[in-house]
């Protein structure tokens, strides 16, 4: 089995075997981050550009650390400090970066499909680090890796994804990935945060958190995107958290050994109670640790060989 793709644009285009290869490879990379000398020479002389048009701490740092631990040179460009503020288009920015001959470009953009356009235009490997409300493949991969690590398998598990499904690229990528890997996915959120026809993605839909988490193995809470509060998608944060906050009470409906996940950043007390976020069910920080390993695996598989 080998990854023959040039780019990682979404979980939708990955086969089950490709997902397995990425997860297995990532597992082998965990150990490097536990060493005293956290570096291997594998990507010496390779250059990875992190091109972030949206705010990010976790994902950008994670990609940067992943590249550095593999000895690649990593460069970060964020929209606010780049020529984008001077009016340069994405295409021109990409062409100019291409001219400097990096090996991979990691891109986050608010427009769905931006990484795909880039992938068609430049010869470098493109990794999607989140495009609009479309996909966030590396997040789904690190989530699946965490589930596999903690539960020993993915197939047959019941996973509830709770929150603003409509605007969540994390939800979309996870639904593609988890259903491919044989898990049963249940989604729940206020009606206006559930896309119409979401059932067609092979998930069960509920309007209540309580109903959705009965007997599940995993609860994945999504961040309520405060920046969307202006768009009046929901009446008030208080009302939202009354109905959709995971807390010490409602979590008892899930399996006793339930795992609680969250892609971060968390809004304490809004979608997740602090004692749950910091509690024994939470694997939120394991997700972050595994994120580095998954991104190391992707960089190795995409640009580890002949360029």
């Amino acid at each position: 089995m080998e990854l023959t793709k040039k780019d990682i644009l979404g979980i939708k285009d990955l086969s089950v075997d490709e997902i397995k290869l990425i997860l297995d490879t990532a597992e082998s990379f965990i150990e490097i981050s536990t060493r005293e000398i956290k570096k291997v020479p594998t990507l010496r002389g390779k250059t990875v550009v992190n091109l972030f048009f949206e705010a990010s701490t976790r994902t950008r740092t994670s990609f940067e650390i992943a590249g550095k631990r593999l000895s690649a040179d990593t460069i970060n460009i964020s929209a606010s400090t780049s020529s984008v503020v001077k009016g340069e288009t994405l295409i021109d920015t990409a062409r100019n970066l291409e001219a400097m001959n990096p090996d991979a470009i990691v891109i986050r953009h608010s427009a769905a499909g931006a990484p795909h356009m880039l992938a068609r235009m430049v010869k470098q490997s493109i990794i999607n680090a989140g495009d609009g409300a479309h996909e966030h493949p590396t997040q789904a991969l690190l989530d699946m890796m965490t589930i596999k690590e903690k539960k020993g398998k993915i197939s047959g598990l019941k996973v509830a994804i709770i929150g603003d499904i409509s605007h969540s690229r994390v939800a979309r990528s996870n639904i593609y990935g988890l259903t491919k890997m044989g898990a049963q996915v249940i989604v729940a959120g206020p009606a206006m945060m559930l896309p119409r026809d979401i059932e067609q993605m092979g998930v069960v839909v509920h309007n209540s958190l309580e109903k959705a988490i009965i007997g599940v193995d995993i609860i994945m809470m999504l961040r309520i995107q405060l920046e969307r509060q202006q768009q009046k998608i929901f009446p008030s944060l208080r009302e939202y958290s009354n109905y959709f906050c995971l807390n010490g009470q409602n979590i008892k409906l899930a399996k006793e050994d339930v795992l609680v996940m969250h892609p971060g950043p968390i809004n304490r007390g809004i979608e997740i109670a602090p004692d749950i976020a910091d509690g024994p069910y939470s694997v939120i920080l394991d997700q972050v640790t595994n994120g580095v390993a998954v991104r190391m695996a992707l960089l190795y598989l995409l640009i580890g060989g002949k360029s």
Binding site: S28, R35, E36, V40, P41, L70, G304
Partner: protein, 181 residues
């Protein structure tokens, strides 16, 4: 027609390992600070067997590590294929340890070069020694083994395969005509 010749059988392999175990103990004057590191995959099984033998002789269980050298290979940049990565597991510090690196076949020496680079990333060993079951010659780097099961002069177009029960269901060393240049 492919020619196959068994150059070492199960008893032969076992006797060689027993001798190597004694030699390791003799050269290092016992088991103090001694540890074994097997190179995936063949070297790991041999390291496990050597550990068992040494424990039997001295009554002391010495630390055993597993090394995957994929990330240190010097041909990654040149090949289109990305080798499957397996886990490295060295759950102890190598600082000031007497490390015996173990592999099944010593050939060009490039694997050992990669393995030594990897080991240095785990600490500063007192020294590194090399034990191999077969030394088939054709070195491309200035590397030699401290403990050798069998010296097997071979030609470049032959391949030497060490089969072990743990992975192949049988213990034998076979030399056969291969497609290598």
């Amino acid at each position: 027609m492919e020619q196959k010749k068994v150059v070492m059988d199960a008893d032969g392999i076992d006797r060689s390992l027993t001798r190597i175990a004694y030699e390791i103990l003799e050269k290092n004057k016992g088991t103090a600070d001694l540890c074994l590191v097997g190179i995936r995959t063949g070297g790991v099984f041999l390291a496990e067997r050597l550990k068992k033998k040494i424990t039997g002789m001295e009554g002391v269980a010495i630390p055993l590590g597993i090394l995957d050298i994929t990330l240190y290979r010097d041909d990654l940049r040149l090949s289109d294929r990305k080798p499957i990565l397996a886990k490295t597991d060295i759950p102890f510090s190598l600082d000031n340890k007497k490390v015996v690196l173990i592999d099944d076949v010593l050939f060009t020496g490039r694997t050992i070069r990669a393995a030594m680079d990897a080991l240095i990333d785990f600490g500063r060993p007192k020294f590194i020694q090399l034990a191999v079951l077969i030394d088939r010659g054709h070195r491309e780097l200035p590397i030699r083994a401290d403990f050798v099961g069998k010296n097997l002069p071979s030609s470049l177009w032959e391949s030497v395969v060490v089969k072990l029960t743990e992975k192949n269901g049988i213990d034998e060393v076979v030399i056969q005509e291969g497609s290598q240049p």
